[in-house]
Symmetry: none
Subunit: 227 residues, 2 copies
């Protein structure tokens, strides 16, 4: 299992390389976009981890070049929190997943493993679903009962979090730190409002309701079973 990391920031790059090596992968590290592209085209990698901000050639330019060469290489994007636009671009270009910096290493590892699984079984669609609700990470599209739903960036991000951890009650502090980059100032209710808007789009026109409020605790997304 060979992984190529393209990351210019030395500290992060070394850290990633070390961690993934310890996890049992063979890892190469390129420090800029041109090196990265060269390695990606010549080396025989099973996965590329790609920083968006790179000197020389940025992440999605690199990805574009790789795709033009007809490579099916799975790509995992790393983006800073304020580069959502880039992230979207990357996904449209055929990145298979992305991770917002800063991230927990365990999270990265999990994504990497998922990508490998996918790679072997042929390309599975990168979608998250619950009941008749479906979220397509690549196309950034949401449907429910086959009806297309348009979401804003925040709404999408929130729904994505809820879907990734479906069945779990997510405390507001967690949501705040994941979807916004704030350390929960309790004197704001942005979260409630965001949930309200999300519900208006994905729950109000449909049955059953998937987003449940757990008073004093947070929110869960789940298919309400009997009992």
């Amino acid at each position: 299992m060979r992984i190529l990391i393209v990351e210019d920031e030395a500290k992060t790059g070394d850290y990633l390389k070390q961690g993934l090596t310890e996890a049992g992968y063979v890892v190469d590290l390129a420090r800029d976009g041109m090196d990265g592209l060269h390695l990606a085209l010549t080396g025989d990698y099973d996965l590329v981890i790609l920083d968006v901000m790179l000197p020389g050639l940025n992440g999605w330019q690199l990805l574009e070049a790789v795709r033009r060469n007809g490579r099916e290489l799975p790509v995992l994007f790393l983006t800073a929190r304020d580069q959502v636009e880039d992230r979207v671009k990357g996904l449209e270009l055929g990145a298979d997943d992305y991770l917002v910096k800063p991230f927990a290493f365990a999270e990265l590892l999990a994504r990497v493993r998922t990508l490998f699984r996918r790679g072997r079984n042929g390309t599975e669609p990168t979608t998250l679903t619950v009941a008749d609700l479906e979220l397509d990470l690549l196309r950034r599209r949401v449907t429910r009962s086959s009806r297309r739903i348009d979401l804003t960036a925040k709404e999408f991000s929130l729904l994505e979090l809820l879907l990734r951890r479906q069945g779990e009650v997510l405390p507001r502090s967690l949501i705040a730190s994941q979807v916004w980059d704030m350390n929960f100032d309790s004197d704001t209710n942005v979260i409630e409002v965001a949930v309200r808007r999300l519900r208006a789009k994905v729950d109000d026109p449909f049955e059953p309701k998937l987003i449940r409020t757990v008073r004093g605790m947070g929110y869960v997304l789940e298919a309400p079973d009997a009992a």
Copy 2:
């Protein structure tokens, strides 16, 4: 479940140690970075709680050293509010979560439990049971005899504590500090009231009664079998 706390400030350290011990964990406390590192590498811990500001060796240096030794140890960072930079560094180094000081103890406890669930993948169970009573931590749901019971936040928290320490007689002072964030003012009877409400939901409609009062001592939850 063994936890290592590395914290130089005596007050905070003692407070954490006491609280986590009462919650049922085995806790060691190191007062500086070098001690902490030594313990982290030699002791067999399931989680490290790490202050960023430490004499000798700071939090992320310690973390880096641990990672270099190939340890998969889950790490929870404690950072002051104005040390967001440090926090980011910590996360890049593979911290699994962070908490901004000052924090509510309940918040810490919740994070610790989440880390156990995720890190060890089920070492810490996601559901607690006694007799036909079942409590699902992730979904925050309670059932008895397969009948769904809706609990409020406080009720849930209280029942969770009783279940985690089932068979033990829990003094009121302990309950007060774990479920409420207070140091027992004896001139209130909130606990009795809360126990009453909880009993009304989980014991009154069922047999056998699981919550028992031990006069002069506190409360126990247990299945009243022979003995």
